[in-house]
Amino acid sequence: MSSEIYKDIILDYYRNPRNFGDLQDPDVRAKDSNPLCGDIIEMQLKIKDGKVDDIRFKGKGCAISQASASMLTEAVKGKTLDEIKAMGKPNVLELLGIDPGPTRIKCALLGLKVLKLSVYGYLGQAVTDEVKQLV
């Protein structure tokens, strides 16, 4: 019973999402949806010394969107805001371990978009076109 896209690790993160839920008094939160399928992701961050001190996500949607958001929250803990600003599609593909293909890539990138929206929101900076075009 194998599936190219739905590797065990993705299903595991979908079934048992890490860092799922709310933070107490987050420094910033952001939310966005994928208009194609209505997937929703919200992220909440605590920032300390220019780094991600703690992070949670909430959401509803397909396995790819929820798993990739959960994986991202683990990957960025302790990272600087500049490091997150520099992240892109290759980082997400590396976390997932697969390329979900042209139609599903937006599901995978929704979490990254919301993460970046949080960072730009925290810094009070205008969101770049690169971020807007992620999903």
Partner: protein
């Protein structure tokens, strides 16, 4: 009385569709996304190819051999389509880009001239966005109201609400003949009678019915009847609006430009008679000719046979799907009241995940809101998967589909 139908020889018919020989992800293609668009037979592909190779020319005005042949072929297609839907007059067939444009044509021309403040436009909750948004735009502009007939738990239109909502204020009633989500076949003739009793116009969105069943615009007595060519074996970019000629003659034109005028002066212009009044600019000539060939193909099979074949496949698929654990099927259970469109959800697997897993097995289905968000909201379901059948689909394909559903269920169950 319908004569006894002969069954379709599907394995022979499948040879007419080149794309069905394709492999997807190493598996034979199983195309169950026919409600979105159908595949094309060799004859339609050949017809469009031949137009460009042998007699490509602009129509109606050229005084040369190629223009004559192209014009003839284009107008022959109009005649075939008129006959196919039993129109009273060939000039009642207006070529558009698709059903969406056909409905917009009515909203922009008849609607703008006839809808006023406080008037009522009656739709149903199961309409495709193409039969909702044009009316919302018109209502906003004119201060009119849009109201929706709901459905019952079995996915059938509430006829009590049809009688309740349609009244003296109602100017137009717009109903889909077959739902692209639930598959429900609506009793359009009866609804039209109610509309006409109150002096309202009656528009039928036939995008999901014309490809799959015998339709008859005279029997339906619709004022307007819209459908797309690409869902019925024809090319994309060609659609049809049928309107009763007495309305079409009275209504203002749609787009202005070449082809649709009789005379143009610096002070103004006059229009050609129908259908040309509504066909500004060089039309999709090859699309119309290709659609004519698609109509030939379907006519040769016989629409009763098409419908019967799809009923048989649907009945088989519904039976097999009811054996799949955690599967929720939407729409009427009675096969006589539906076309071959089966929308469903499998446990809590997101429709997009399911479509991806099926794609890995070479199976093409649709997933999402199916351009019917008001219906999804009404049913309180964010997304559905949809399998929709056509003449070339087989029970063996349904079996492969069921196995793939089981695989998906097991994959996500762990």
């Amino acid at each position: 009385m319908v004569e006894k139908v002969t069954t379709i020889n599907v394995s022979k018919l499948r040879e007419d569709f080149p794309v069905l020989k394709r492999q997807v992800n190493g598996k034979p293609l199983i195309y169950f996304d026919n409600a979105a668009t159908s595949q094309k037979p060799e004859s339609v592909i050949e017809t469009t190819d031949r137009y460009y190779r042998e007699y490509n020319a602009n129509i109606h005005r050229g005084i040369h051999k190629l223009a004559e042949e192209a014009t003839l072929a284009h107008e022959e297609a109009r005649e075939k389509i008129a006959k196919f839907i039993n129109a009273k007059h060939t000039e009642e067939i207006i070529f558009t880009r698709n059903a969406t444009e056909a409905i917009n044509l009515v909203a922009y021309t008849w609607g703008r001239a006839n809808i006023g403040k406080g008037d009522k436009i009656v739709l149903t909750i199961m309409e495709h966005h193409s039969n909702i948004v044009p009316w919302q735009l018109l209502a906003q502009e004119k201060g009119a109201n849009v109201e929706y007939v709901k459905i019952d738990n079995g996915g059938l239109l509430r006829l009590d609400e049809v009688h309740e909502l349609i009244d003296e204020r109602t100017k137009i009633v717009c109903v889909t003949q077959a739902s692209n989500v639930l598959g429900t076949i609506n009793p359009v003739k009866e609804i039209g009678k109610v509309a006409h009793r109150y002096g309202a116009m009656f528009l039928v969105d036939a995008a999901q019915s014309v490809p799959h069943m015998r339709v008859d615009v005279r029997d339906t007595d619709s004022d307007f009847f819209a459908f797309s060519g690409h869902k019925m074996l024809g090319p994309t970019g060609i659609g049809v609006l049928h309107g009763k000629s007495e309305h079409l003659r009275r209504m203002p034109p749609f787009l202005g430009g070449g082809e649709m005028i009789r005379e143009v002066h610096t002070t103004g212009a006059s229009w050609k008679d129908i259908p040309y009044k509504y066909e500004a600019g060089t039309p999709n000539i090859v699309g119309a000719i290709g659609l004519g060939t698609a109509v030939d193909y379907l006519s040769k099979i016989g629409m009763e046979n098409v419908h019967e074949h799809e009923r048989e496949i649907s009945k088989y698929a519904i039976g097999r799907m009811s054996e799949v654990k955690d599967l929720t099927l939407y729409g009427p259970r009675d096969i006589a009241q539906r076309v071959g469109v089966l929308s469903f959800n499998l446990g809590d697997i997101h429709a997009h995940d399911l479509a991806s897993i099926l794609d890995e097995e070479g199976i093409a289905i649709r997933s999402g809101h199916h351009c019917a968000q008001p219906l999804m909201e009404f049913l309180n379901v964010p997304a559905m998967s949809r399998a929709s059948f056509y003449i070339y689909n087989t029970k063996e394909e349904v079996d492969v589909f069921i196995n793939a559903l089981e695989k998906a269920r097991k994959l996500f169950a762990r």
